[in-house]
């Protein structure tokens, strides 16, 4: 039995290894880096003013979490602003894929600190940028600038010493080091949803699927808007009595969250998962007015998109268009050509 179990274990781990280390497209990994980097740049630019005001709140509201745990007192606002602006510059370089061996880890770590300190260490932990930070860490510490990057263009032309901080160019259609980072980016998304699903089942058991809890969460959020912002969305009042709809939504949410890891196993399951989750987040926005921007605009799911195929199709587009135009403009010539 021990021998059979050992063989089964060896076979299982070999299958997991083959799945995880399947060569992937450097173009896809590069595209994920560009999309995530561009979003980070936009986000840091959007919140530079708001978070600089947040960090000037009274000290008793300062509750450091995550990588800011070591701080006993808030930082000077000027220092925070400097770090935020540096992170913004690094995010631009991260997107461009410039000097990536240095910029990648620096951008990931500094963005993590800035988002943790400015956005989440002042009496309330938001849950909107968690997956973004995880993705930055994965992309920052993996060879994500092997394609679609300044490094891929410059490194072969630079002297060896100057090329040291540059990422190694990966010109081939597939590469053994470009597959697993994409899978890891996907896994971060799937595990985050799995955690949310487990939390629901742990707190309320499978009774969470009745939908009462979901309805009450939406109503409570509406009450916050009523009493703090002067008015909830009209839809909050309209949907309160839709018991069957809430049951369907609760079951659907739990199935999607607990089943999220399956999205890694098959591309079509991945597409279905991505479209469903984008729908869930737009629903949350519609009913509760909460914007999970990273998920709402689909950026969180960038690793599920076959960018390499889309980029190839884009590259072929002029030739395809030219062919179509020729057929439309010179049908007679085409017919003559076919007769020949």
């Amino acid at each position: 039995v021990t021998g059979a179990a050992a063989r089964l274990l060896a076979k299982g781990s070999s299958a997991v290894g083959a799945f995880w280390f399947e060569p992937g497209s450097p173009l896809r990994l590069g595209a994920v880096r560009v999309v995530v980097g561009a979003f980070t740049t936009w986000l840091l630019n959007r919140y530079v003013g708001a978070w600089t005001r947040v960090v000037q709140q009274p000290e008793h509201l300062f509750e450091p979490v995550g990588v800011a745990w070591f701080l006993d007192h808030p930082l000077a606002p000027e220092l925070y602003l400097g770090l935020h602006r540096t992170a913004l510059v690094l995010a631009v370089l991260f997107t461009l894929g410039f000097a990536y061996r240095v910029v990648g880890p620096a951008c990931a770590l500094l963005s993590l600190f800035v988002i943790t300190y400015g956005g989440n260490s002042w009496s309330f932990i938001f849950h909107t940028e968690n997956v973004l930070c995880l993705h930055l860490l994965v992309l920052g510490f993996t060879p994500a600038a092997g394609a679609l990057s300044v490094d891929a263009l410059l490194a072969p032309r630079l002297p060896r010493v100057l090329a040291l901080p540059c990422a190694t160019p990966r010109p081939g259609p597939t590469d053994p080091e470009s597959g697993w980072p994409v899978r890891l980016v996907q896994l971060c998304v799937a595990l985050a949803y799995l955690m949310a699903g487990i939390a629901k089942v742990r707190a309320g058991g499978l009774a969470w699927m009745h939908g009462d809890n979901l309805r009450d969460q939406i109503a409570l959020n509406g009450l916050y808007y009523e009493l703090l912002a002067g008015g909830a969305k009209e839809v909050t009042f309209q949907v309160y009595g839709w018991e069957t709809v809430f049951t369907v939504l609760a079951v659907g949410t739990l199935v999607l969250e607990l089943g999220a890891p399956l999205a890694l196993l098959n591309p079509w399951l991945g597409y279905l998962f991505v479209l469903s989750m984008i729908g869930v987040h737009w629903g949350i926005r519609w009913m509760m007015g909460i914007d999970f921007l990273y998920q709402l605009y689909g950026v969180a799911y960038a690793a599920f998109v076959p960018w390499e195929k889309l980029l190839m199709a884009l590259r072929r587009l002029p030739r395809t268009l030219h062919g179509w135009l020729a057929r439309v403009r010179f049908p007679a010539r085409r017919e003559r050509g076919e007769e020949k």
Binding site: T116, H127, N130, M195, R202, A203, Q217, L228, A229
Partner: protein, 184 residues
């Protein structure tokens, strides 16, 4: 080795990949253990996403700020007048502030000052600012449209002085159970 079976050779790069992959996966799953959820019971970016999971109470208690006109007509004071963060941040802020006599007084004065600066709209008629703690039944509020609180207690009260800086009224605990125009 069986025919067709793939063998994954362990290179330095692969060892790094395994460490990073397993490390990230374990870190993301770590909040499953209650002791690894951080001091506040949640953390960032490693969270167990408890926000939609906790069963809700039938009666919810909230702290918020209202403004009263001369004839006791009431208005909700927007959270942006007392917190530079978002609404959820403001909710925690005002709840914590209301518990402290000193911080509550300072915040109340700060809000009254902000209200006093308003020259147009309903806030320009507000004479009194109150930080209140109210209890609400969700089913009544959203199911039946009854927006009256079950009970409401003012923890801090300030007058809005448009001529000179605002001052706090001495009655810190003012029961508002029977306010004539109690619609938030």
């Amino acid at each position: 080795m069986l025919a067709g079976e793939k063998v994954v050779r362990m290179t330095v790069g692969r060892v790094y990949a395994v460490i990073l992959s397993v490390g990230m996966a374990l870190a993301i799953c770590s909040p499953l253990h209650p002791r690894l959820r951080g001091v506040e019971g949640d953390n960032f970016p490693l969270s167990w996403y408890p926000m939609f999971s906790r069963p809700r109470e039938e009666i919810e208690t909230l702290t918020y700020v209202i403004g009263l006109e001369q004839d006791r007509t009431r208005h909700i004071i927007h959270y942006s007048l007392y917190s530079p963060g978002g609404m959820n941040s403001a909710r925690h802020h005002i709840r914590d502030v209301a518990r402290s006599r000193k911080a509550g007084r300072a915040t109340c004065k700060h809000i009254a000052k902000g209200v006093a600066a308003r020259q147009k709209g309903p806030l320009s008629r507000v004479r009194t600012v109150m930080i209140v703690r109210g209890k609400y039944r969700l089913a009544e509020y959203f199911g039946k449209g009854n927006k009256q609180p079950i009970s409401e207690v003012a923890t801090h009260t300030c007058t809005v002085n448009r001529e000179s800086p605002s001052r706090e009224t001495p009655d810190d605990l003012l029961h508002l159970r029977h306010l004539p125009k109690g619609h938030p």
